[in-house]
């Protein structure tokens, strides 16, 4: 079992940097004596990690949280904390999330990671993924988790933010495999990609190694936080010891199942889905096991989808 460090921001401009172990208490997160609602963004990602970690028997994750409503203040506190303390920490899975992209500070964070005794499994999503790509150092990361719009951004060698993704790439969203190839070709992808969409694509070094189609729950797309929960579950499974592709595939399926169990509408809020993660993860892991048993019985290899 690997130790985890999760970093990101929460929309509270009065919040000083919070560091501590996170615990999920119904609809809220408790970190270092502070209580945060689990609504979306980094709070949803941490909520999903906690729910999955509880089910798996992992230790609870450590977190670094800045209060930021977009003014950069809290994001900068998170960057500076990571720059200062990462060389002294022994986190084995580092998950970097909602933050304002600042290339200079990002590069200093990577320098700090290089000073760690052992390089952690490096996961970036949301703003940290944007700045990782914009800095030209995407290949240093082990896993990015873009949605389809963010994948088009990774495939655009000129764009410094998803807002600048050029039209011809946006139109290629119907063909994610081409975008995945382009992102890898330009060196703008992490070693692994988990592309979240109607079909989820699990990729290694630019090649699609698995697709997840089921169960189909279209109502998940408009719900804020459903991408964050995939990231959280995947990170918890990687900390549990799963290989990155298997962790991503299991997380995608568990997230879809959690969605299905919550019987969502486009107005559903993410806390209702987080509440179903342990049951959904149990179902997804049983499916994995059944698939392995089936493959063993057949004497063949397994397609985990």
């Amino acid at each position: 079992m690997k130790t985890m460090l999760l970093a990101g921001t929460i929309p509270d401009s009065s919040l000083d940097l919070v560091c501590g172990t996170a615990r999920l208490q119904r609809d809220t997160l408790a970190i270092d004596g502070r209580i945060f609602p689990v609504n979306r963004g980094t709070a949803a990602m941490i909520g999903a990690v906690c729910a999955a970690a509880q089910f798996l028997g992992n230790t609870a994750p450590d977190c670094v949280i800045g209060g930021d409503i977009g003014t950069r203040a809290g994001s900068r506190e998170v960057y500076r904390h990571l720059i200062k303390f990462l060389p002294k920490t022994s986190a084995e899975v580092l998950c970097l999330h909602y933050i304002i992209p600042e290339i200079g500070l990002h590069n200093q964070v990577l320098t700090a990671v290089r000073k760690m005794k052992t390089k952690p499994v490096l996961i970036a999503d949301a703003g940290f993924m944007y700045v990782a790509k914009a800095s030209g150092q995407a290949s240093f990361y082990d896993l990015f988790l873009p949605d389809i719009g963010e994948l088009a951004f990774l495939a655009d060698e000129k764009a410094s933010h998803p807002a600048y993704t050029r039209g011809f790439l946006t139109r290629l969203e119907q063909d994610p495999e081409q975008l995945i190839k382009k992102a890898a070709e330009f060196g703008n992808a992490a070693k692994h990609l988990c592309v979240k969409g109607l079909t989820d694509y699990i990729c290694r070094e630019g090649a699609v190694i698995q697709k997840i189609h089921d169960p189909v729950v279209e109502e998940l797309e408009p719900i804020g936080g459903t991408g964050d929960t995939v990231t959280g579950i995947a990170a918890a499974l990687i900390a549990y010891g799963m290989e990155i592709p298997a962790a991503c595939a299991t997380a995608c399926r568990a997230n879809r199942m959690a969605g299905l169990l919550a019987r969502p509408t486009p107005a559903t809020q993410i806390n209702e889905i987080i509440a179903k993660i342990s049951l959904a993860l149990d179902m997804a892991l049983r499916e994995n096991q059944a698939s392995i048993n089936h493959a063993t019985f057949q004497g063949g290899t397994t397609d985990a989808n």
């Binding site: 998803p162 807002a163 600048y164 050029r166 039209g167 509408t265």
Partner: protein, 184 residues
């Protein structure tokens, strides 16, 4: 699901720079300052004002600048100074700069309509016109924008450009305007 329909619309895409005009670029300290400046300048003169990505030497990862015909420099600077939002720097540009996307895709969920621009999505209940969800994005004002806008009607909600600070807010504004245009 059969009732789901997708539409794609674009107001502009890869608009070319007019080769006969000399351009200047207004550099600000934050995306929020750019959004406010754009509103100010569009009231004074909308001719030739474009928001663009600044050149690489000014980029930090979440940036926006304003391109303008250099001949209008004096009037533009005066208008911005009068609104207490003077630029940090003004430079000449002769390279083509990237513009934020305005491509919107719309997904109809029956009772709800979702509009997406790049990485940002907004979902509105058709009957009540209430914003029921905001998703996507990666900058730290996205959860804040969701907190402020969900539950409000699209007629009453603050505009993302008024309360947001980043390119994600700028992008959400485009999706928000499209939702307003369709559901009024």
């Amino acid at each position: 699901m059969g009732f789901l329909k997708n539409f794609i619309s674009s107001k502009k895409d890869d608009q070319p720079t007019d080769g006969n005009v000399e351009w200047g670029l207004l550099i600000f300290d934050s995306v929020n300052d750019v959004m406010q400046a754009e509103s100010t300048l569009k009231k004074v003169s909308s001719e030739g004002i474009r928001v663009v990505a600044p050149p690489p030497r000014y980029r930090t990862g979440c940036d926006l600048a304003i391109q303008f015909p250099i001949i209008e420099r004096m009037g533009i600077v005066r208008a911005l100074e009068n609104s207490n939002n003077a630029p940090r720097d003004i430079i000449h540009v002769n390279e083509e700069l990237m513009q934020p996307t305005e491509i919107c895709s719309v997904k109809d969920f029956g009772q709800y309509l979702m509009v997406r621009t790049a990485n940002m999505k907004i979902t509105v209940e058709k009957e009540t016109k209430k914003i029921v969800n905001i998703s996507g994005g990666g900058c730290s004002d996205v959860p804040y924008l969701a907190q402020q806008m969900i539950g409000k009607s699209i007629a009453e909600s603050a505009l993302p450009r008024q309360i947001g600070y980043t390119l994600c807010a700028y992008t959400l504004e485009i999706a928000f305007e499209e939702a307003r245009r369709r559901l009024g």
